[in-house]
Symmetry: D2
Subunit: 430 residues, 4 copies
């Protein structure tokens, strides 16, 4: 029997706290889950440093990836037999859903920024390169890995398939909103996914939503809005990320300066050199990062040591509201004062700005953008969601930005009394 | 103001997915949570290798420790003003609840077995030794650390306090049953804790339960029974533990034989030497373990390499029901056959037996046993639970044991065809 | 198109708080729901007088009937294509599930007892008699109503079909346990129905459960046990039922004595005469009962008036534990004392005994018994549940009985001081 | 001891599916719950005809009233010891919360409209008139009933107390949103009430919300918005209400015309005469209504009979979108056509318009309006919610109206073919 038709002897079932059960019948999917590269996702947290703010949020990308797969599996069940749905795309969809995040590195956000990496590129390489995942996919046929990569890259020709994985209301977002709400314990993030799935319909080039399900979609958009501001952009999480970024910067700089580490950071060499291979990349995960950060707590270099202690023992930076545009002068003064006080502003002062577009229909066409949500009206027409929903219209396209200034309160408190300390405190207390 | 009376400026609240909120008002508790030793619990999973079976179960002991604290906090609220409750024991109870698991090592179960360690001893040392926790506790007074350690060790003179932390229905068990059910996603593990807390009453030497709450307690006992057999003793989890144990044994043996590791397992030296200091112990966590296991996947030694690959990539041992008592001869034969086939039975064949006493009132008095559950009857008498509850009586003291034989199926499948392979397969297929 | 194959233009969906959605595609089912006799179930509460104890339990049999239908619908989905499942029985199963309770009267328990009625007989008559339901069913074919009635009566030849509706783990029980738990708000009554449905398998003559699902079934049996004792047999509910029974007895007696009611109880005449037609029966519901009870609060007859006020205003009888077997003499004495005090013991003193067999496999074969639960072992054998499950074995067949004595505390309190009152109080206080 | 200080021997606890437990300690509250007038609320549904749309929504006002009481009880716990909170108002708050809906009649919405009644006036009369409730309240003191009535009427001098019961985010709304969501089973209606309660603060003249809780309040406003449009204004519910209103109109008209009813509608006489006493009013409930509607199904009058059959058997009117302002001519034509077809347009054609202001801060000051939501900023200032929240700002004050035209589809279908029928169908199909 062709590999793509092989079914497991008996369906495998994963108990999932969010979707109750994840069902696997296809040998292909089962084999993909068993690969080393997919298992590696167990060692990368879904929400990076968020566990410092919400202690329950310790779940991994493995978790989320299974969830996205399961949602796509349910959507396909609903699409069965409907016009525009081509069931020969089924395994492609499922594989893309399962693998869409496989290229993420440890604490990806900071990690990618410091080392100028792009997890989407790594996802592609893992799927098409010399990996167990690639071997499994090629058993379908030689072009299959490439097709999976294209779906994830949104360049695949069947745009319906792309929109299931990447759009304003795709399986990815539906899983992570619910999952992250579940693990953090916040009361936002809940919406009636079962209802949304039941009103999803395939069209030639995208998934649309029957008008009758509009209110469930409104609820979903609101959940997203709340999750962004309550969870994803939480200032404490960002404080931990600031420190993490500083650690990586410092270690890289020390490496470049020929600093002698007590335990050689072998896993970081190629990263520091900007010349990382797929094999090296896959060897990185959060246990590796945490291992070295713990070692570095005992390094000679005072900055590296201090930052690692802060991260490992959760002694984070404090923050204040601070708009760098309107308060530019104060920022310049603060940098000057910190320098006078002997605090290295490269590592101990940072402005972080987060912003979100809760629903950004109008940016369609801009590079890399997700597709809008279209409603299928009773008369068969399509209408973009914000034209029908007052609530969505009200928040669509409203970019909101939050600026915070991060700094070590303990350093400031420990400064000798005097004009510098006094003025720093004045500025920080607004 | 005395340190033990210091309150936080504003109550701190942790969002907890199980208890909704964890409330902290006491400066002492806040400071304990901030110590390096307590933060270390974030890097030790609550359920060890269970995440290989239930992918949701990635939560840490940090999580659970906050939960036990919160339950005790609520119990104390209910006890306020009641006879037998001495409110001067409040902070002691809260501290003991928070710290009761602080001595756990990475994957404690296997870890303690291989290196002959005892997490309870380490808990004591962390509380009374040279640690940040000890410094914080001593701010109350010099005897306070010792008292906290005694409560956890069940030797403290106020047995009421001990029974809140350690009994058949203590805060520890109530938290982990609910928490582990939540994260694994199983439907067992739920019971009406709010009801149980409301019917708890302090007596001179233990917490008792008003008769009217008996049915909620029955539900709790049943949850426990189900969680043991569905989650805690799950054979897949035990398979991963078997492999983990073998890895540690192998590494230790290689070390003893003077084997040259590619990256020196510095963190393990004192463990291998059987001479581990408190500082070394605290430097160990699951990121350290996983770091070395990943390195060891590339070692020369074939056994260490193979076992680590199995663990990291979740390529676990298969298992069959196997009672070593009644099938002793077959086990001997199997060992012989494995040897003939060139498979090292020290590492690739293991009988694991798990057993539970779902409610063990009658063993009271035996060393180390938890206290029984007593019901407070309307007439003021106490009666042991199993005398009133048919259900509890039915399962009380029934020790159930589950025996499994673990082995690498792939090794057996890859043996050359012949009498040995044939006979091995016969035995393994019962 | 044959009526039995007619599908609704668009699937109808009921939002159900217990099963989330109830799905209807068959025209037949939709038409049955629309009949006057089925709509009547909205005016009959699922749990009779339980709302006096658990104020949330105001749900109707309409609610429950849709739920049983939905569960059967899901079971059939799982049975599709499996051996032993004959899909031509599909509509029969669904109809029987929907209609299984259609013969219930208002507050059926007391109602049937006083007027010597049997709701199962009425169910049969409604299905086969001159009703809208019968007309709808006959559109399938002339024998169809009879077959539906047989499935409900457990006499239908296909015992597999019968066991789906009536067995120890049928759709009826699975719905009501969950539904009643939901509405009362108790924490019992929850079990993993999704899991149970997934492991149900059709055999030639009954539904069986795969061994791997045994623990979910144990949970279900325990839920049942707890629901019986915490909800269904709650002494306050029974107190209201005692009063209700007395009201009906009194009204009947007055009628037989030619008493002149202020508003003629027209709806009760044929009941009182023991000669009730199907049309009369269907005209009865709880609004009718409550209408008359409210009128009777203003009747001349002191007993009827008092009992009705008690019921309507929830001024119920008090109760004490009282075993009429062991305390026979006291009961006799109490009756004598009440008479001396001028309290009519026909209406103001009642011993009520409730008993349950939580799982009664061994009574198979006795008339009217539900079928046992059989497990399908991996080797294809069937084994009765209690042979595999220690917990079920522990509670199987243990008949537990609870005796209570009900009486009006206010009457006793208002007696003139003296020997009679003193002695009554002595007995009642045990 | 003064009655207002009397505590129950043992706290009474109601199991509530929404708030888990309702706690009662005060003798006064317990006595109020036991009154005939409060028990009557068990016979009046919280959501009127909504159960025809959402079958789970069969809960009574008794249910909701206990819930509002419980929320106020929890708010008071949080207010204890805070500035501006005067604990001598405690029992007044609790009583007003419990009794705020006690004047509701059966299916109040239609009922009040037809008979020109006002449940708020009846609430006042029940509290201050010759009732058991009044007797209980007067045991506190002679002015107490009047004060309770004033709180409910929003005229009480302590505006803080008033705002707890009646404002944009009062205990009333918080209970019904959650409760109605629970019973209907919709996924809207959930918000984090525990969080909202924790951030509520008393001020001199109103309850305010700490800024940090703004997002929970946003969620609450959104829930309200969704509940209005998904549940409260559901067109099927309104269809049943239209019919109900027509029934009452018809019966009144027949009465006025001297029509001879088969069973005399004694309970309606004073209503029809427009001269209803408190005693008569209290004798009305939904069982009485349903009793007569069932009788009227067999009346001579064809219209009354038809309407009652529709209501009892849920054979409701169909509806279409229809804006009477823009489609005035079509409405006039339709009325004409119906008349030609012999259909009485007084009873068989109705335009119903529903509208909501999800959050109406700016109408403050208009008669009868609820108070706005004010946020307590970190600097101690108050700011009206919509100035801080983009989402609330977006929907505040946007009045949305939904117009529907209701008519009996079966009547239209059964018209003889011809120009009239054809034109009617044209208009109805838009």
């Amino acid at each position: 029997m062709a590999y793509e038709n092989e079914q497991l002897h008996e369906e495998k079932v994963f108990k999932d706290p969010v979707h109750r059960y994840v069902h696997v019948r296809d040998k292909l999917i089962w084999d993909l889950i068993g690969t080393a590269e997919f298992q590696r996702l167990r060692r990368i947290r879904q929400l990076g440093t968020t566990f410092f703010t919400f202690h329950g949020a310790e779940h991994s990308r493995f978790n989320h990836s299974l969830g996205v797969y399961e949602i796509i599996r349910r959507i396909i069940e609903i699409f069965q037999g409907r016009e525009h749905w081509d069931n020969s795309e089924r395994l492609l969809c499922l594989s893309a859903a399962l693998l869409h995040d496989v290229g993420h590195g440890p604490f990806s956000h900071s990690f990618e920024k410091v080392f100028n990496l792009d997890h989407e590129k790594w996802t592609r390489e893992i799927i098409t390169g010399d990996t167990e995942i690639n071997q499994v996919l090629r058993r379908v046929n030689d072009e299959f890995p490439q097709k999976v990569a294209e779906v994830i890259a949104k360049t695949y020709e069947n745009k319906l398939v792309v929109s299931m994985i990447s759009s304003q209301i795709d399986a990815d977002r539906m899983d992570y909103l619910q999952r992250d709400a579940f693990y953090t314990g916040v009361s936002y993030g809940h919406f009636d996914m079962e209802r949304i799935l039941r009103v999803m319909r395939p069209t030639e080039d995208m998934v649309v939503i029957k008008k009758s399900g509009m209110h469930a979609v409104e609820d979903y958009i609101m959940s997203r809005y709340q999750m962004y501001w309550q969870v994803y952009f939480h200032p404490v999480t960002r404080s931990a990320e600031v420190i993490l970024t500083k650690i990586l910067h410092r270690a890289k700089k020390l490496f470049e300066q020929g600093y002698k580490f007590q335990i050689e950071p072998t896993h970081f060499y190629s990263l520091f050199n900007g010349d990382i291979s797929l094999k090296d990349y896959l060897a990185l995960d959060e246990s590796v990062m945490l291992f070295f950060f713990q070692n570095w707590m005992h390094e000679e270099d005072k900055i590296l040591k201090d930052l690692c202690r802060r991260f490992i023992n959760r002694n984070l930076f404090k923050y204040i509201e601070f708009n760098p545009n309107s308060s530019y002068k104060q920022l310049v003064e603060l940098i000057q004062l910190f320098k006078e006080a002997g605090i290295d502003t490269d590592y101990y002062l940072e402005v972080d700005s987060s912003s979100d577009l809760p629903y950004d229909f109008y940016r369609l066409g801009e590079e890399g953008e997700r597709m809008p949500i279209n409603l299928l009206m009773p008369n068969g027409e399509l209408r973009e969601l914000s034209r029908e929903s007052e609530i969505v219209e009200a928040i669509a396209g409203k970019k909101r930005t939050d600026h915070k200034l991060y700094y070590p309160q303990d350093f400031v408190d420990n400064l000798p009394e005097g004009a510098v300390k006094k003025r720093i405190k004045e500025i920080l207390q607004g």
